[in-house]
Symmetry: D2
Subunit: 168 residues, 4 copies
């Protein structure tokens, strides 16, 4: 997990652009504590991730269907900072935190859309797989979209992707 | 929809045995009204249906995987009679209400497991499909398990399955 | 259930305006049949219903929170006509099919957003409850929003709401 | 997060007994990758946690309802090691990893029930809250059930709970 988890700084951007979507909290997403049930944040992360890809120029559906590239989740983490309530509008920010040809790590922040209060933050780590769910490598044409090959460290110095491989 | 829907008698058994499972209501299943969210009853119906099949001698997973037989839902209905609450134990009763080689209709009752109060009742109607989701026919060896070929009417007289085809 | 269910014409509009929303199918909503899992359509109906209310001038959150008016589901029905697939954009149309001071029935159609193919249609029937989930009556100021007191029949002739009470 | 997260040893037991439940994977839980969708593991963790509490002598429903003690999730983490498939029977092991009067951290392992292959592991961290979701302290009578006041370190030496407070 390295540097990031130790410092707890989920929201430090590492160069690649952040994509933002909005979502209105559903009744289905609440529980009897009158707040959003915790597993639903992982669905919001999926929403953010899919739209990040689309905005970057890669429709995830086509990556799977046409190129047989699957991003299988190997880790998910969410820290819940303040509850989200029914019918509240939230913003989900998504960016790529780390990436190399075999792995992409997305990071997320969930905020109240009207006052920007931070509600939750987290990350998901994905390995690139083929249709049989065997580990594979990201085809060259997708690499620039996720910043593969130009991985940034928090100090924004660009380092060769190979140097990040020990992290996986 | 015929006789059944008009009369509202969901729980009339038509010959084939009823299978019963138990389920403990999850926090995830509640909403801020402090009761189980309505879509979750359809998941409970799935639970009941899968265990009905297993008890009848057909593991649904194997029907799909080995025989390419898919039961695609074409209609679902649920009437909510009394709310179900967190951590309550419920019973889900499942039986086959109508069946012929191209269609199976399951019916369900959800009851409180300790006092047998009726909480909900409903049905799901499925057409038999192949792996490409094209309409197909139930292989002969599965037919007896679902009562195909010996369809019963509410008066328990056995009628030829062909006579029921106009209902679909 | 009366006229509607017998004829199977879910999509006949009865006067009150239809509200339309769009939704992009999530990975979370699919199942291993590679189509949207059937219970999720009931969540889409909730989305449609909430936005119908908002467009009509009643935020459902405030109905509950400020006026103690809960619309408890007593029946849900969905007919699945064609599968919905991952990342497909769907339209959900919502309108009020029947309404009187103690009950509101919403109807829905789900269509592919690009070619308007009908994917599913259904309805949900709600009784008006107070905070203790006891049957109640819709406060006067909400009635016009749902067409209560001016119920229409399919021929668009306006009839007194009282005349519709026998249906409940 | 301390020692545990850095070393990645999720499954080291720290003294308190482990509780095990079994669950049959539902169709509803799969996605079009033909494996269980990642958010559903957090629901399995809830199942494990509720049954851990019941086995320890505390029904979580009653903790909330009668004592106004809510365990609000502040962090969830899951590492996905091997996919879970439809109709597979899984075991969910749950134990308390860390606990003091204001915080309980549960840890989990998900295994295939027939061959004990590890499928996933994770943890959830909860703060003790009152009915208004304000931070509170675990009532004395619940403390022994969660091992509060006799926190163990991985070497099984019992340390005073106060010494662990800096971790929160």
């Amino acid at each position: 997990m390295g540097e990031r988890a130790r410092s707890g700084e989920y929201n430090r951007r590492v160069g690649i652009k952040t994509h933002e979507i909005r979502h209105r909290v559903l009744y289905a997403e609440t529980d009897q504590m009158r707040v959003v049930y915790y597993a639903n944040y992982l669905i919001w992360m999926e929403m953010g991730r899919a739209e990040f890809c689309r905005a970057a120029g890669a429709r995830y559906r086509d990556m799977e269907r046409e190129d047989g590239v699957l991003l299988a989740v190997v880790e998910a983490n969410c820290r819940y900072i303040a509850p989200a309530f029914y019918d509240e509008e939230v913003k989900i920010e998504t960016w790529v935190e780390r990436a190399h040809p075999r792995m992409i790590q997305f990071a997320y922040r969930v905020l109240n859309a009207s006052d920007d209060r931070l509600l939750a933050e987290g990350y998901t780590k994905h390995i690139v797989c083929d249709r049989e769910l065997k580990p594979s490598r990201l085809p060259a044409r997708y690499r620039p979209l996720f910043g593969v090959g130009e991985l940034r460290r928090p100090d924004s110095s660009i380092i060769p992707a190979a140097a990040a491989l020990e992290d996986l």
